[in-house]
């Protein structure tokens, strides 16, 4: 199962089992719902933004290990960051898991850090949507598109 361990790394399994920042968020200023039509998974992302900074973040909903871990690690990665940096992280993560958009992967203003754990997803094209659902949803929330269900396609 060596290849599979590239996908299901210990960090992913851990966050999949015990997602961080899971639940409602008091005084949220931004919310959006994301839906993966392929598997029926739904998540909601809440954010509290003040002075252009993501001060608080949480998510709710159910999904596979990859999508839960992605949402959980997202909350850790974006907390305290400026919106511009969050957008940059979104582009970098998307580039990482799809293997496309080399320009985005070379953006140097923010580091992927723990999010690099999702590199193995690239070998599993059917699972890219699982890894990006929470990010698309957060992006919609930050853009004020709460009414629009985030889709990964």
């Amino acid at each position: 199962m060596s290849d599979l361990r590239d996908l299901y790394q210990e960090l992913i399994l851990d966050h999949g089992r015990r997602p961080r920042n899971f639940g409602p968020l008091p005084e949220a200023t931004h919310d959006a719902i994301g839906h993966n039509p392929l598997c029926g998974d739904k998540i909601t992302v809440h954010a509290r933004v003040r002075d252009d900074v993501v001060e608080g973040i949480s998510f709710e909903g159910q999904g596979c290990a990859i999508s839960q871990a992605s949402a959980s690690l997202l909350t850790e990665a974006v907390k305290g960051r400026k919106i511009g940096d969050v957008k940059s992280l979104f582009r970098k993560l998307t580039a990482l898991v799809t293997g496309r958009d080399e320009d985005a992967s070379r953006e140097s203003d923010v580091e992927l850090g723990k999010l690099a754990v999702f590199e193995g997803v690239r070998q599993y094209p059917m699972r890219v949507k699982c890894a990006t659902l929470a990010w698309h949803t957060l992006n919609n929330a930050l853009d004020g598109k709460a009414a629009e269900v985030a889709r990964t396609e």
Partner: protein, 417 residues
């Protein structure tokens, strides 16, 4: 039984080893493992007889049908209409003109909803569906109800995945114009009592449309015995190519129905002032049809009949029972859909592991199953789950395939322990 014996001989004397040799794709290696294909409810693989029939048609007989006077056009027409006769006899149709070629069950159901539904439905009328329908037997009805002012009524399912027949009998009433129900549920494997449902529908003056996509390749289908009015099926779920399927309709209903799509072949005469329509089935087959597909579907029908539908159904039933016991030996596994009469499908959930993750890990072991909502989201909502993992069987599956699945599930649990 030894593994070797189990791999070669199925229950009821079915020579599964011989069957497997007729499916070239079963020699594929997936992630370095021999393929275990358990996604047959989504699409079956194709035997050599079907692949050869399609190739033979294109190599020797191909031309447009019902149009030319030249030899190949006539041969293609004979192939096409011969396929129609073969398929008519396969489903117990009174006449081959009751078979309309379509892309698949989805198109067949859309045709009935738009044409028949459009003709008979009006404000206050009701279309009765079951809660276990595939989206293809829900959405077309929603569309035509929105257009005509008719209403959808949904008959619930019981906890074991069977239709609540008491609720069905209470729901179907004087305002019911159409009942639409699956013969076999793709998500649960439930076999519905179509003959009884048809009797109740007819007593209320309604017609009954049956989605036979999961039944036609797995059990004897006789539309006369079922007593239904329309029966839809897909070729690719019964060993034929993708892109071809059939709709059987009662002759008097087809004759009275409005055409669906307009174009060539469905007309008798066309002027800019007025067009007169061809008779069924041609009235519903606008444009150049998929003749190669029809030939492939007829070859699949012949292939199924050469083995015997009762024999195949018995073997599948025995394999389903074996799989049930084997799956229930997996700790934390729950089968979703435990109807008394089931066909070729086990949907299941595994405690603590999302179906999507099960699917990826099994794939790395060479095992193909379907995961998710199976285009039946209301069923998932009923059971309060986002989706299931589904193993579904066909003529070439063996007890070894089931054993490999169970071993694969142990690896899933090892990963998520």
């Amino acid at each position: 039984m030894t593994v070797a014996a189990r791999a070669s001989a199925g229950p009821g004397g079915l020579d599964v080893a011989n069957i497997r040799r007729q499916f070239p794709i079963l020699s594929e290696k997936i992630s370095g493992h021999p393929l275990v294909y358990l996604d047959n409810a989504a699409s079956t693989q194709k035997p050599r007889a079907v692949l050869d029939a399609v190739a033979h048609y294109y190599e020797h007989d191909n031309a447009n049908v019902h149009r030319g006077v030249h030899t190949l056009s006539e041969r293609a027409t004979v192939c096409y209409e011969g396929a129609r006769s073969k398929i008519a006899q396969f489903v117990g149709a009174a006449d081959s003109s009751e078979i309309i070629f379509v892309r698949g069950a989805t198109e067949a159901l859309n045709l009935v909803a738009m044409s028949y539904g459009g003709d008979v439905l009006g404000e206050g009328d009701q279309v009765v569906l079951t809660e276990m329908e595939h989206h293809s037997n829900i959405v077309p009805w929603q569309m035509i109800c929105a257009r005509t002012g008719a209403q959808l009524r949904v008959v619930p399912i019981l906890e074991n995945g069977e239709l609540d027949m008491k609720a069905y009998a209470e729901t179907v009433g004087a305002r019911t114009k159409i009942v639409a129900a699956s013969h076999v549920s793709n998500a649960l494997g439930t076999v519905n009592p179509i003959a009884e449902m048809a009797r109740i529908a007819h007593a209320a003056g309604a017609t009954i449309v049956v989605d036979g996509a999961q039944a036609a390749g797995h059990r004897p289908v006789d539309v006369a015995a079922l007593g239904c009015d329309f029966y839809a099926f897909s070729g690719h779920k019964m060993y034929a190519p993708m892109g071809i399927g059939g709709l059987w309709g009662r002759r008097e209903l087809l004759d009275a129905m409005s055409p669906w799509q307009g174009g060539g072949e469905m007309i008798l005469t066309v002027t800019f002032e007025k067009t007169t329509y061809n008779v069924a089935p041609h009235k519903f087959e606008a444009g150049t049809p998929d003749v190669g597909g029809a030939v492939g579907l007829a070859a699949a029908v012949e292939w199924i009949e050469s083995l015997g539908r009762e024999v195949l159904a018995d073997a599948e039933h025995a394999l389903l029972a074996y799989a049930e016991t084997a799956l229930l030996s997996v700790p934390g596994l729950r089968i979703v859909g435990t109807a008394r009469e089931k066909s070729a499908v086990h949907s299941f959930v595994l405690e603590g592991v999302h179906p999507h993750d099960i699917g990826t890990i099994l794939d790395s072991e060479g095992i193909a199953i379907r995961t998710g909502h199976h285009c039946a989201q209301p069923v998932m909502d009923h059971f309060g789950i986002a989706g299931t993992a589904r193993a579904s069987f066909a003529a070439y599956n063996t007890a070894d395939d089931v054993d490999r699945l169970v071993e694969g599930l142990a690896k899933v649990q090892e990963m998520f322990a």
